[in-house]
């Protein structure tokens, strides 16, 4: 038992790093699921999409910032497709996401040149290695500090965005579509915009993660939605009474808690193959222990 906790303690820095990077993913899902009330499964496809695009570009020698920009753009395109499928073709939200997620598997494989596993050489320039910023930082804290800066930047941008006229309308779209229409705004366009932003973020996370791991593997998206959702729910539900905390803050904290629980489970000796069951149980526990979001009103009788 003691050695398990010691192992957990040893793994804390890595848990923190992973938590911060994955917070970007959770923030993306926060936008679709929490704010827009749209269950977006595209995430399982757009997450590895960002990874594939970023890795493919890094292997070509493209700068890490540009690679991440491209990854984000690719995610936005994926979100746009999901949005168009849902709004124009009037396909249910859940199915729109599933369609995109399935299509993206093949697309991601193509982007990765047919390889299910790509590794980035240690000498390559990534966000976390061999660049000017990294050389300034002390060895062991490089990943932590860079991830922290990134997450804080993204969080501030999202917080500001949610306070704008556009952000207010986005929140209204998820809260009550009728009001959006009554305000003479196109609710379909608002949904598409939300999907674009969220999937851009998710793909950015995929890009950042692959640059940190120096590894892209085709199945990295499996379970991404579940992880992100669990993080959002843990954060938002357990910190409910702290109303003054913004949803972005709660989401980031939720991700860190999730990763900590995960790391604890592994340290306690649970086999890697059992981790999905652990995630499911964690999810179940959180959802049943707290009352979840109030049901949304759909339309008049």
């Amino acid at each position: 038992m003691a050695s398990s906790l010691y192992a957990f303690y040893l793994a804390l820095p890595s848990t923190l790093e992973q938590g911060l990077i994955y917070a970007l993913l959770a923030l993306g899902v926060m936008i679709t699921y929490l704010i827009l009330d749209f269950p977006d499964l595209t995430v399982d496809g757009s997450f590895p999409l960002g990874g594939a695009v970023s890795t493919a570009l890094i292997l070509q020698g493209v700068s890490p910032a540009l690679a991440l920009l491209a990854a984000t753009a690719s995610g936005m395109a994926a979100g746009l497709c999901t949005g168009l499928i849902h709004v124009k073709l009037k396909i249910r939200a859940l199915f729109s996401g599933i369609i995109m997620m399935t299509a993206l598997y093949s697309i991601n494989l193509r982007i990765a040149g047919g390889s299910s596993l790509l590794s980035i050489p240690r000498t390559s320039v990534t966000l976390f290695r061999n660049n000017a910023l990294v050389r300034l930082l002390p060895q062991d804290t490089q990943i932590l500090i860079i991830s922290l800066i990134l997450v804080v930047m993204v969080k501030i941008i999202i917080d500001l965005m949610l306070q704008t006229r556009f952000g207010l309308l986005l929140r209204a779209t998820g809260d009550n579509e009728q009001v959006v229409t009554a305000l003479a705004r196109n609710k379909g366009n608002m949904k598409i915009a939300g999907l674009i932003i969220a999937n851009g973020l998710v793909a950015l996370c995929g890009g950042v993660l692959t640059q940190q791991q120096r590894l892209f593997e085709i199945s990295m998206g499996t379970g991404a939605m579940v992880l992100a959702l669990a993080s959002v729910i843990i954060g938002v539900n357990s910190l409910k009474r702290f109303e003054w905390l913004r949803p972005t803050t709660k989401t980031i904290i939720g991700t860190l808690v999730y990763k900590a629980c995960y790391s604890l489970a592994i340290s306690l000796g649970l086999r890697p193959g059992d981790m999905k069951l652990v995630t499911a149980l964690l999810f179940l526990g959180i959802l049943s222990a707290w009352i979840f979001k109030p049901r949304r009103v759909t339309h008049d009788a």
Partner: protein, 257 residues
Amino acid sequence: MLEMRNIRKIYNPGTVRALCLFEDFNLMVPQGQFVSIVGSNGSGKSSLMNLLCGSILPDAGQILMDGQDITKMSEHRRLKRIGRIHQNPALGTCSGMSILENMALADNKPKRMNLMPGVDKKQIGRYRDLLRPLGLGLENMMNARAGTLSGGQRQALAMVMSVMTPLDFLILDEHTAALDPKTSDIIMELTQRVVREHSLTALMVTHNLRYAIEYGNRLLMLHQGGIVLDVADEDKAATRLEDVLGLFTQISVELGN
């Protein structure tokens, strides 16, 4: 001015349940008129409102607003100049957002959507002034979530939101049906005041025959997609509740209600 010409609407066309609701329906509502619409269930009251607002489209015919043909216009574009209050108080406001944010949303209606701050702090005073006359205490709860308000408070808020920015038409779709009698009265007073103050053309669908008589200067009774009673101005003033009730009962019995 609102006009509906030769409107035809068939529900479930081509199926066993096909129902021809409107066949060559015509209606003209002049500027500034306040119309009360009553009718039995299935008479087409709500469908009429939906057709006007654009949430359903007619199979044939035209809808004109101030002379402009809006038959093919999308719902959200029509609602630029039309305000609609629904029967369900929850539909008019965003429950997860505060009163302040809801009003800011309404205030932004005519403005360009961009990345400027959504809530203009300087307007809070003006928002309070708009809420005070309601007498519901909402002006002291600016940060309360709309979801915590009572049905009547939400309807009142929805009304204030509708008329915060320039509007031509107001559609009231059984907007007091879900409220208790006292609150209903308050909301009706508010409705009257709002329509007068902003010189709106208003259509009010209601189940409450008393309100239909008391408010507005035109009374329409619908039955199976047709108008069976249409009295305005002096004729309406002269109409008594018993007459309307008698006719209403007659058509209801016909339907087996």
